[in-house]
Symmetry: D2
Subunit: 439 residues, 4 copies
Amino acid sequence: MAYFEGVGKINYEGPESKNPLAFKYYNPDEIVMGKTMKDQLRFAMSYWHTFTYMGNDPFGVGTMFRPWDNAECPMEVAKARVHAAFEFMEKAQIPFFCFHDRDIAPEGKDLAETNARLDEIVAVIKEEMARTGIKCLWGTTNAFSNPRFVHGAGTSCNATVFAYAAAQIKKAMEVTKELGGENYVFWGGREGYETLLNTDTGLELDNLARLLKMACDYAEEIGFTGQFLIEPKPKEPTKHQYDTDAATVLSFLRKYNLIDKFKLNIEANHATLAMHTFQHELNQSRINGVLGSVDANQGDLNLGWDTDQFPTNIYDTTLAMYEILLAGGFTKGGLNFDSKVRRASFEEIDLFYAYIAGMDAFARGLKVAAKLIEDKVFENFISNRYASYKEGIGKDIVEGKVGFKELEAYAMKNGITPNVSGRQELLESILNQYILETK
Amino acid sequence: MAYFEGVGKINYEGPESKNPLAFKYYNPDEIVMGKTMKDQLRFAMSYWHTFTYMGNDPFGVGTMFRPWDNAECPMEVAKARVHAAFEFMEKAQIPFFCFHDRDIAPEGKDLAETNARLDEIVAVIKEEMARTGIKCLWGTTNAFSNPRFVHGAGTSCNATVFAYAAAQIKKAMEVTKELGGENYVFWGGREGYETLLNTDTGLELDNLARLLKMACDYAEEIGFTGQFLIEPKPKEPTKHQYDTDAATVLSFLRKYNLIDKFKLNIEANHATLAMHTFQHELNQSRINGVLGSVDANQGDLNLGWDTDQFPTNIYDTTLAMYEILLAGGFTKGGLNFDSKVRRASFEEIDLFYAYIAGMDAFARGLKVAAKLIEDKVFENFISNRYASYKEGIGKDIVEGKVGFKELEAYAMKNGITPNVSGRQELLESILNQYILETK
Amino acid sequence: MAYFEGVGKINYEGPESKNPLAFKYYNPDEIVMGKTMKDQLRFAMSYWHTFTYMGNDPFGVGTMFRPWDNAECPMEVAKARVHAAFEFMEKAQIPFFCFHDRDIAPEGKDLAETNARLDEIVAVIKEEMARTGIKCLWGTTNAFSNPRFVHGAGTSCNATVFAYAAAQIKKAMEVTKELGGENYVFWGGREGYETLLNTDTGLELDNLARLLKMACDYAEEIGFTGQFLIEPKPKEPTKHQYDTDAATVLSFLRKYNLIDKFKLNIEANHATLAMHTFQHELNQSRINGVLGSVDANQGDLNLGWDTDQFPTNIYDTTLAMYEILLAGGFTKGGLNFDSKVRRASFEEIDLFYAYIAGMDAFARGLKVAAKLIEDKVFENFISNRYASYKEGIGKDIVEGKVGFKELEAYAMKNGITPNVSGRQELLESILNQYILETK
Amino acid sequence: MAYFEGVGKINYEGPESKNPLAFKYYNPDEIVMGKTMKDQLRFAMSYWHTFTYMGNDPFGVGTMFRPWDNAECPMEVAKARVHAAFEFMEKAQIPFFCFHDRDIAPEGKDLAETNARLDEIVAVIKEEMARTGIKCLWGTTNAFSNPRFVHGAGTSCNATVFAYAAAQIKKAMEVTKELGGENYVFWGGREGYETLLNTDTGLELDNLARLLKMACDYAEEIGFTGQFLIEPKPKEPTKHQYDTDAATVLSFLRKYNLIDKFKLNIEANHATLAMHTFQHELNQSRINGVLGSVDANQGDLNLGWDTDQFPTNIYDTTLAMYEILLAGGFTKGGLNFDSKVRRASFEEIDLFYAYIAGMDAFARGLKVAAKLIEDKVFENFISNRYASYKEGIGKDIVEGKVGFKELEAYAMKNGITPNVSGRQELLESILNQYILETK
Ligand SMILES: [Co+2]
Ligand SMILES: [Co+2]
Ligand SMILES: [Co+2]
Ligand SMILES: [Co+2]
Ligand SMILES: [Co+2]
Ligand SMILES: [Co+2]
Ligand SMILES: [Co+2]
Ligand SMILES: [Co+2]
């Protein structure tokens, strides 16, 4: 049974196409910097936003037309969703998916039944994976929606909730392994605080580290070799999320000696909620060697919540791909569309329009970024700009050969070499030209 | 010669006083939690905002009436400022001051003359310190105002500017030692970036670490035993300041093995620019053992720049003192008013009104915080809230005795103990009662 | 049947009381500025946040324990809620309530049934009102939660939705009249836009004006004499809400000649979402003669969404009451707690703690504001500050007797009289003293 | 004497050019929508940011190399700036300039001397205008930098300052007339407040209206036929600027019956400081018939102050030109680059790079916008979306033929016609394609 009957496979038709159901820039097999676009971009569908989000918001109920949800019993809905999801991914040429445990199967009356339900759906997913060749980019745990997590999961003040969360992660990790997931993500849904008046931040952060340590131990025990990823976010749902931004997570990982076990899953909208640019968070991840994977979406800087819009801003996609390529490209990670159609885009067809919009925006961004790197546009500029550290006193500084006394002597004798303009406006203009003219 | 002729010593007159030139809450010798208010609060005057800020802003020139600036030559002005500053501190009962090298003495034609000028003024300051008993809380370097630092100091792309900055810090550290400064502060004025298009963030951060390492070495060499402090700020003057917030600085210090050598100087307005509360930054510093000193001021959350207003919000002063007291109170640090009178408060007398406002706000905050701690208001609540980690499965978690398998077994068998309300509204109401009723 | 069995009437016990279920500052019959506190403050309960909000948020389902919701059929729940609500208001001494049509009765299969259900519940409410003496402050329409309003109600692109909204408002206005509601509120739930790419803002705003004009006509027709109020909000749920802030609504009302028919309902959290202070919005309403009523709550300026927290900040309550008293106090309006307990405050008892927190904060604010006005603290300062407009050239300016030529002649001859400090720090310090010392 | 010796006239070389001193998109004589690009865009140079801004910021002094400032006496500097400015405009092909009175001539010892200095420089400017054919887009008054305006100009608490401001505006208006300025701009530099504790907002706003009324009277008296423009801004330098945004200014103009005399000068960065998009402010101006002129620049939404960067974001320039074209294009207004080079772009050549960046970005934006309009991309979509208002019940609503009773009857009988998706993602994707593919 087909759920998207009126839609066939989305094909690449090129920049001149007026067909709304075609790619204008995403040409899966085209080679860019030595790999196919498909392999460079490693697009993934987010199961939650695409197949369980109904359009509800704090001021209104769901709006989405989702015929596959019409089955009466929750497990039948869950199975129908699997089939709809794989039909959608096939047609939209999306090679990966990402999921939370609770996206794919509804909770049962207790943890045992919940786990059994998960197994039942996992079997269906595996069939579909085998049939289509679509793979699992990553799995994760939803330890934030259920009321039991009202005070957090690993940072709950209630130790039995910590235990429950641990049990849930254990199972989700097993399921991710079963599905061949290449990564496992930790996003700290309710790991944060609402008010410091009732919170022991020290204990909560220690406990969070304990939980992650247990996860590392268990992965080793069961031979799960996927990459562990932490996804930073500064606020929402809690007032303060502990995994605020890349720097905060790095501080945490270093403090608790977890830095070798984890990389980061950088989300564009979470970056902007933290008052950083998307590129900034990718750049910081890159220079610290922890750029693992990316949640591709975009926020609205005039709005203060996580809008998770489909990414269409070409500057963002270009500069994101620029950092990713500089980091050597994806290995286990990919571009997961942690993006949802607007509440007013409630028709099934909008799912295709939205993914096409995002995939085309990243495809174009990839090509522009590759051209910028091939032409060494910014790299040469930067190399010249910092040339003073490659010789003389600069080289001595970098090599640790001088201290305050030597530098004072140098400054007393030589003063400074004149500074040169940073050329920001020229560089922005060149970036525009690359964006507009790259073919 | 007196510069504030119409004003005598500001005395404590109590909460009922209608005298605008009297303290209503700051009673220096009153004992609070085992120490005098004076010793608990360790108030310091910021030399820059109080004695060199003229009221200019991006849209207008200075407005301040500062008669001591009337001398013709810059060094005479500098000396007059010293006398005015100490007269002011004496009258306002401020026991400490903080300064940048360039606040106290103007630059000369080259570094040698600049350093000589600094020495000349330092001698005058030492006389005044001896006369009055006022001490130096901390010194620092202004390596951001001069055009040579347009691209940064320790993070400049120009190695000769790095050398110049090192020479400047060397001298400022010597001067701080000479003045008996109890701390030395690093605020990264232009250590950040304007655009990633022209910036090598990796090299810049490595260089910043190199500079700090050299500072540690030199301190050891000359026997400077003051505490090194880094002051986080997220933006302004640069688009992105590397020392973004407490977490970012901690990540940096841990990465470069500098964590044992530095503590933090937390500024209220920098906290809010980073979208944190002042209390949050103090709390994070406390639980990481790096709460060194405080820049006392307040920002305006509707404005996006560093307004550095005098702190008058009683919630902020209470919760700040609460964290400081929980951390054991100040040792070397103190409350430096990194605060400036509004551009429209341009009369000399406004300096007194402003410091009285800030000192009274913190004095009241201290008393409320002390009462909250004595009554264990929040501590008891928190202790009960996390009681599940003191026995049974919770204790096993904390002590590392269990892993995922044991916790899954526990959760399967026991489910969860019901959660209890976090009581935020009740706690906020109790806080109000303490603020309003503490005597 | 009692739903809050363990709780009796909340009484005033004064500032020293340690009883969490007592008022410390709200003393209903105490006279402040010539009226009882009860009559000055005119507290109202919000039906939605107090009796229908279940604690769901974008990342989780409801958490609230609400035993009155246990009935099986929706109409039985609705009736139980009425009884619970009036029991709550009686015990908490809240003299008014506010409601949306859809808060009190669930929708039926069509508009006719929906209206009939509304009538059935209204009858129950009227009984309870008669029994308790509690009154209706205002009613309103929920024309935003149902999917039919996905593109707006009065600003929908779908004319049949406009018609439906009109029908709904008609009925809600009738019901409000039936319940003796003293005001009727228009909050433009989804009256705004998501993207300008698909929006005809000109037509939408014209239509919104048409809808309000119809409302005025119908009120006249049925003799509804309650005050019409518009409640500004800048964003959420839509990206841009047309009724952005007080100034925007005033511009709209003036453009469409509706300025004589409407006043404003100012919400604290909506003010801060618009980057204004609560006091600013009240002040602008006051000087334009449109301060109608107030939605009492508070936001979190570090968060970018409408948190609708219970108001506990004493500065906000003081300065709000200051503007309200300067405007002559409430006539038809009041202080509606458009506030919800935090998701983690999920016990029934938290409703009492939260209302006590808010009522006490406003009671104290009222007393401080009254004292500030009685002592003419700010009024005298302001009167002196602007004295130059009461005589000479200033008087001529105000009376329209001079133009550019006369003023140029004046300036050429006289230059300017020196400016005087604005004394912001002193005034803030005095405000603190009043807040802390008012008894 | 030439100040930009190494630079010749900037010519159009097309999108493939690698010459940094050439236009890639701005082809002055190319016809777009029936006019030359030059006449559609009406680019203007801002005298202040381009020829008096020295690169100072709150944390540092000026950095700019500006050899024409080397003259010793201020009037010689002023004259040299005129020659440098016209050389620059000629070479960069900028047909207009905008100025504040105090940009072009320094203040003298009193108003009479100041005015005489202004006249002296105006004569020089007129010569250069005659020589080059460059015109004046608009003039304005700087009534915010001098300390006399510390409390405002038209909203000062000091009536003699009001008089002084009136005299200054009188002269600036005369000078603008003398120079053939097509508009006169009012930007309320310090017209706002710092704290409500010392401010009579009612009197201040009344006075501001009085000042504008006098300006209207005087313009009529001297026959100045330029368009009066008000430029909204929400904050900075004051905490709250009275001319907050387009809606606030419209409310003010309507309240004081000034709506027929003024249009708006919309600045991109001021829009974003007010939490609106640039397009939003232009759209609101358009639908209210007050889109007068534009200050072309861009802000940084992660920063909270007016960065006034050169506009390079192609989305912003496209959507701005889209609104401007829909409004019928510029008549008296134009695109004034109220933009400054970054402090680190301190070389003279950066002025060219920056203007080229901005002019090219707007030229491309113009072409994309024109193509979108020619193809009726969004117009057709919108026309269909609102089709229900062109017939039946929708037409009756628009024509005022129905009220609540008729609409209730309609809704009871017909319910609603199903809603259709808003298609935001598809529209964003189409916009991308137009931006990238328009030639
Ligand atoms: Co994500
Ligand atoms: Co997100
Ligand atoms: Co500071
Ligand atoms: Co600061
Ligand atoms: Co409200
Ligand atoms: Co609200
Ligand atoms: Co402007
Ligand atoms: Co600006």
